[in-house]
Assembly symmetry: C2
């Protein structure tokens, strides 16, 4: 059956999330399929920031820490994110970057399993997750080890030396979705702890951290949560571990009584001990705006639309781009797919630059992947159709085969 | 000789920095003497943030990382701060919080002195500096030790076990200024490395990190640099250590080739390896506005005015508040004084609340300190006179002796 643009328009008319698009400021002439790298700008963010700057910082100055609740932001926004990822109140804090939070939780996990010495991850994990583990192992004097396995080869690695398994739920390249419940169960059965990186999950699909009995998680504020460039990250620790959990970055805002200015560190209760230094309030307030919008949507509805978008994308590419060199790099089974579709192409870098020049913004990931993020709150079905038509033209006419598209920038 | 308000007004008329006050948005009816806790709002910040949000994030979206140089911000703003603290280009990066940066540098220092096991600090250091060292020592299995000495008792602690001495140049309570050149020299003579926390220094007085041959430094963006609440912090590593310096927080933006997405960590060259995760761009851009203003002023002029402000404050208090229970807690010698004056008072907490209710905003630090920050870019000599007159009234009438001023808030 042939897909037509009219079919996409019909899907848009029936979309229960369609009204959310108007909550975002999207530029004309752009089809934005990179919300998994930097989420779009909520229209409410500019006003929130202007008020924060003029009234709170400028007008009330230092008094705003209490008067406007700045001091509560890390836990307040954390509790909001908790509702998006199936965590309980008090289990999530916003703090630092994803990388720094990984360090805190990996180190804390090793302390909880002092008789074990291995962190397991998969070779396809996002590099920072691997780098942080490498840095920690090196800091601890190589008494520990980072063991890397193929993404589907976890079972063989789970021996009695394993203290922690650290995985990203949705692969940043292929969009492959791990089975959180099953893997967490197997890791626990082996006596190890489980850390999930939700960078490509939070705000994009339902997560049930509590139901899966996940021990630790981290996640990103600037992708599907639309918190702005470099928005602070979040971290989750299951309540049952709050008593014994000891992060190694012990800063004053994680102290039981920060404003007593004691000489000795005493950890705050619960997740608050994972807060370290003074949080970047401007960036944190912008994150809250994005999180508040996500909370208005039904996460099951987001997942339904996300899968419908990726299904349409794959169907359209199959119909329009056959024989033009694209190979689907995302799982064809929907249960295994996150909120993106990726294709490999031998000239992937140049093809993506040509697409961007035409206003279709996805991104390129080495060695040869075209990556298209599908953000249900603001991507329309018609956008998918239009993007694939442009993709076909770029490929069919070899529009990508120009020097300016082949020259690699430092950042892609 | 009696000080009169007219004397303060004359000093303001002769002040070469007077025009800078107009660059800040300060509320009416407030004398702001807490810029050492949260710097005031530069008028240019609102416009910079509005443009960043609307044009860069909203309009150019992911492309802004290159098109608007977001990716360069940590090193670009770092190079600007370097000019304020006597560092060379390429020696300073903006990243994370002061606490997280302390962890990176303390751990790196211990690796550079593997045959030594002690970090020395003073009991008056800001708590987070001590907490971070405690957390690091604990993480490393107590093979190391944090040795605390009295602030003036460093010499006796410098034995052959000492790997690192970590001090804050200006004491956050008393404003006492350490002799950076002399202490660094003595620490080096003992074979140890030196880390200076410039939280209450950067933007407030001249610093000569290169001239003093300092090894490591950290500092704060939201005090005298006017970068906004929780602005990112900075860190400095002397160029001669760039080859062997290994921070333990190894994130993707500190990788030699972040966008190659390699599986193994390879440190970036120079200070860039101290960057970890994606920086909070909104907060970082706001910091740059504050730093740019500081760069327009002459740091020697800032120091001259700072000392003139504190001299006037001390003289006015001596004249107006004699017998009212205040004891100067800052050094009387100017060479030993940072950019604040502190007084102890048995009812310090309530006195400060009464002052704040009257629009004189300083802050309280346990157990009994009234702390007044003197920020030469926007505090006038007449403000000092007016603040001391109000202080006298609050004390002479026991205005502080009301229940609402004695009730302690969680945050002060």
């Amino acid at each position: 059956m042939t897909v037509m643009r009219a079919d996409a328009l019909a899907l848009d008319r029936a979309d229960p999330l369609a009204a959310f698009r108007d909550r975002f400021a999207l530029p004309d002439g752009v089809i934005y399929l990179d919300g998994n790298s930097l989420g779009a700008l909520p229209k409410a963010t500019a006003g929130r920031l202007a008020g924060l700057v003029a009234t709170e910082w400028g007008g009330d100055l230092i008094r705003s820490w209490t008067k406007h609740g700045w001091i509560d932001l890390p836990l307040r926004v954390g509790d909001k994110i908790a509702r998006l990822i199936g965590a309980r109140p008090g289990e999530v804090a916003v703090a630092d970057s994803t990388s720094v939070n990984l360090f805190k939780l990996m180190a804390a996990a090793l302390r909880l399993r002092p008789d074990r010495r291995v962190i397991v991850s998969d070779v396809g994990n996002f590099p920072t997750d691997l780098y942080v583990a490498q840095g920690l192992v090196e800091l601890l004097g190589f008494r520990h080890e980072l063991r890397l396995v193929a993404p589907n080869d976890l079972a063989g690695a789970l021996d009695r030396d394993v203290a922690l398994v650290s995985l990203t739920e949705v692969d940043y390249r292929s969009g492959r979705l791990h089975d959180m419940a099953d893997i967490t169960r197997r890791v626990h059965a082996a006596g190890a702890l489980m850390l999930w990186d939700l960078a490509h999950t939070a705000g994009a699909l339902p997560v049930d951290l509590a139901g899966c009995e996940v021990d630790f998680a981290v996640g990103c504020g600037y992708k599907y949560l639309n918190g702005g460039p470099g928005a602070p990250a979040f971290l989750y620790v299951a309540e049952r571990l709050h008593g014994e959990f000891r992060p190694p970055l012990t800063g004053w805002l994680g102290h039981a009584s920060p404003f007593a200015f004691e000489t000795g560190y005493r950890p705050a209760g619960g997740i608050a001990r994972a807060i370290v230094g003074t949080p970047p309030i401007l960036s944190l307030a912008a994150l809250e705006v994005g999180v508040d919008i996500a909370l208005e949507a039904d996460m099951a509805e987001i997942r339904r639309k996300s899968l419908a978008l990726s299904r349409l994308f794959i169907d359209c590419v199959a119909q329009e781009c056959a024989g033009l060199g694209l190979t689907l790099a995302s799982p064809s089974r929907e249960a295994e797919r996150g909120s993106q579709v990726s294709y490999s192409h031998p000239e992937g870098y140049a093809v993506m630059q040509a697409l961007i020049a035409r206003g279709v913004i996805g991104d390129f990931r080495a060695p040869d992947l075209l990556r298209f993020g599908l953000t249900p709150l603001y991507v329309r079905f018609a956008d998918i159709w239009d993007a694939v038509v442009i993709l076909r033209e770029v490929l069919a006419t070899r529009e990508w085969d120009r020097p300016e598209f082949k020259k690699r920038a430092a950042v892609t």
